[in-house]
Amino acid sequence: MTALGPTPFLLLAAFLFACGVLCVATKRNAVGVLMGVELVLNAANLNLVTFARFRPEFRLEGQVFAVLVIVLAAAEAAVALAIILNFYNARGSVDVDTADHLKG
């Protein structure tokens, strides 16, 4: 691991984050938006583990934070899917463009 610094991993995480944001912004299917959020969380995790690897003082904390992020992302995906299922039962479609009942 002597030739690889933190920069390539940080760039990969930045690319994943951008893809996640693009997914959240452009997908019309609500489950697609959820997939974008998962990409963003993975990018953040990658950053955490990269800094844990290349900074001696974060050696344990980076992994601990990443494990907590994984668990909380699973919980958030469950709640998001429950909301999406409810929306589908009430309206018959998961198109986020049709969720405009609060619009003025």
């Binding site: 951008a18 583990v49 990443a66 494990v67 998961v94």
Partner: protein, 180 residues
């Protein structure tokens, strides 16, 4: 070109292509498959970074749990088997602009940080394995190791409460048929 660099190049290419596949796929099931490859690639990057326990946790919890949940959700809410909701081109343009700007910002910060952080020559060892990580979560007192017992308990209870709440929220109710 060392072995680590070659491995990282292969993994980064795979993860990048899969992430683009998630964004560019039309149907939800294809996006889910591309997301599967992305998450597996990220787990391998964790292994490359020396975080073996985290790579295993990613494969078990994220790929085997969260992604299966997402695939179930996508299949249960599909209006038709090959339905694809298309986005207008103007929205794609704005989205690409925002994502490109964010990537440029993060990449510029990462490139500046790369010089300041001591490179791999100063960070010799691998990350702690499951032993020290488990002991930290269990709160075993040690002079130099912080304890994460309270956080572990909070997260466990949180997960339980969230799953019960999600099961209640998603209970079967009167269903409106899809508009056809």
């Amino acid at each position: 070109m060392t072995l680590e660099l070659a491995l990282f190049a292969i993994l980064a290419a795979a993860v990048g292509v899969s992430a683009v596949g998630v964004v560019a796929s039309g149907t939800i099931v294809r996006s889910a498959v591309w997301l599967l490859f992305t998450l597996i690639g990220v787990a391998f990057v964790y292994f490359l970074l020396g975080a073996a326990f985290l790579g295993a946790a990613q494969l078990i919890v994220y790929v085997g749990g969260t992604l299966v949940l997402v695939v179930f959700g996508g299949m249960l809410t599909a209006g038709g088997p090959f339905e694809a909701l298309k986005t207008k081109r103007a929205e794609w343009a704005v989205g690409l602009l925002v994502a490109g700007g964010l990537f440029a910002l993060l990449a510029s910060v990462s490139l500046q940080l790369g010089g300041a952080i001591p490179t791999a020559a100063d960070a010799p060892a691998e990350l702690p394995g499951p032993g020290p990580l488990g002991l930290a979560f269990l709160g075993v007192p040690d002079g130099k190791r912080p304890a994460y017992l309270l956080v572990f308990e909070i997260v466990s209870v949180h997960l339980l409460v969230v799953l019960i709440g999600a099961a209640y929220l998603a209970r079967p109710t009167k269903r409106v048929p899809p508009p056809q």
